[in-house]
Subunit: 202 residues, 2 copies
DNA sequence: GGCAAAACTTGATTCATGTCAAGTACTGAT
DNA sequence: ATCAGTACTTGACATGAATCAAGTTTTGCC
């Protein structure tokens, strides 16, 4: 495992189509995962937060299938696949951990898709915020006070909305007293309300 | 591996919340993967075709996270997890294969989510049909003549649409000469047109 | 084969979100 | 500190999909 590597904002960590030589784990900062569509637009698959892995979907074909680029100064570890395979040979615990990681990524992706498919614009934005909050909390960061490292346009492309609609949803949450929003700084005042709107599975 | 098991239409193969005791591989027939939402509705995550695996997302927590029930008479193999772990110990090739399977499921889920987020109703339905066609072809079945084993309502819940909208989309494809539709029997006349509308990543 | 229930299609209307457009507030550079 | 460029907000309007409501076809059962 190689650690202590750094990336400046905007720099790409992995590119779609490159052979998967390593997995990455983000240590600090955040990144955007996206694909470039036929029309030249970006499909934003999601955002990577500290403690989360990058490159898992490369197991499918041995190549990365999306681009991942830093939204803030990013530090990360690199885990070469060769090394990983050697370790998997010997460590049943690591085997389970990798399967768990993949299973979790799969589960989250499906759950998210389901929720997006069935909620309106406000529900999607609420879900997005609640999810972010939850993932930050898991990492020991504040679930109620945080700074969005991504633009409204990125959020919109992630949720299948337009940036205007995202802006309006944030506006209504603010007006209803659920959030404080100042540019990219968010304070969640009513996590329960967001979670309720974000909806989801029983 | 235990094979030759059968299920009648409507019967459930795995239930959300159950401990993951085994993986399953469908041999013939098809199934619906779904979650029950807070309101009692169904979130349809997708459909399982012959040759595809069921239960992968259970690796996340050791429990299945969605329900899978047969849409047609279903035959399948059951692969107990204990057995699988023993085999993973000895067979590096199987380790890679399982990772590949999970990576592929993850990649497809993300790609699908991205496409759904960015297409309109017709695009989604076109994508759905093109995907189905592609997966059937992979299995050696006809990519142009098939029978939908799921209802319009299931398709709609899968795509985040209403059943009326799905019906109308099929209607327009029919009128434009891209499909023949007779109840659940589909003939694809213009696969290219569907693929183009289904759009996707570069 | 006939019947009832379910699944599906089609039409009219409403509403949410996209689109277009203008204006405001950040941000980073000089 | 000022300025320029970008990001964001807000408003007016258009549009595609949801909703509501009949009708029609298919399916499975007797």
């Amino acid at each position: 495992m190689q650690r202590g590597r750094q990336l400046r904002p905007g720099v790409t960590l992995v590119r779609a189509g490159e052979p998967m030589a390593a997995l990455f784990v983000v240590r600090s900062g955040s990144a955007k995962r996206y694909s470039v569509t036929l029309g030249g637009g970006e499909q934003v698959h999601g955002f990577v937060l500290p403690g989360e892995a990058v490159g898992l979907e490369g197991f499918a074909s041995g190549r990365y299938t999306c681009e991942v680029s830093a939204l803030e100064p990013l530090s990360y570890c690199r885990v070469p696949i060769r090394k990983l395979e050697q370790l998997l040979e010997r460590l049943p615990g690591l085997r389970r951990e990798i399967l768990r990681l993949l299973g979790q990524a799969l589960d989250e992706s499906q759950r998210l898709r389901g929720d997006l498919a069935q909620s309106d614009a406000r529900g999607r934005v609420a879900h997005f915020l609640a999810d972010l909050s939850h993932r930050l909390a898991r990492r020991g960061l504040s679930p109620t006070e945080f700074r969005l490292s991504m633009s409204r346009a990125d959020i919109a492309r992630h949720l299948g909305l337009t940036l205007e609609t995202v802006s309006r949803a944030l506006g209504t949450f603010k007006r209803e007293g659920w959030l404080r929003v100042r540019a990219r700084d968010i304070s969640v005042l009513r996590p329960d309300a967001l979670a309720a709107l974000g909806g989801g599975i029983a």
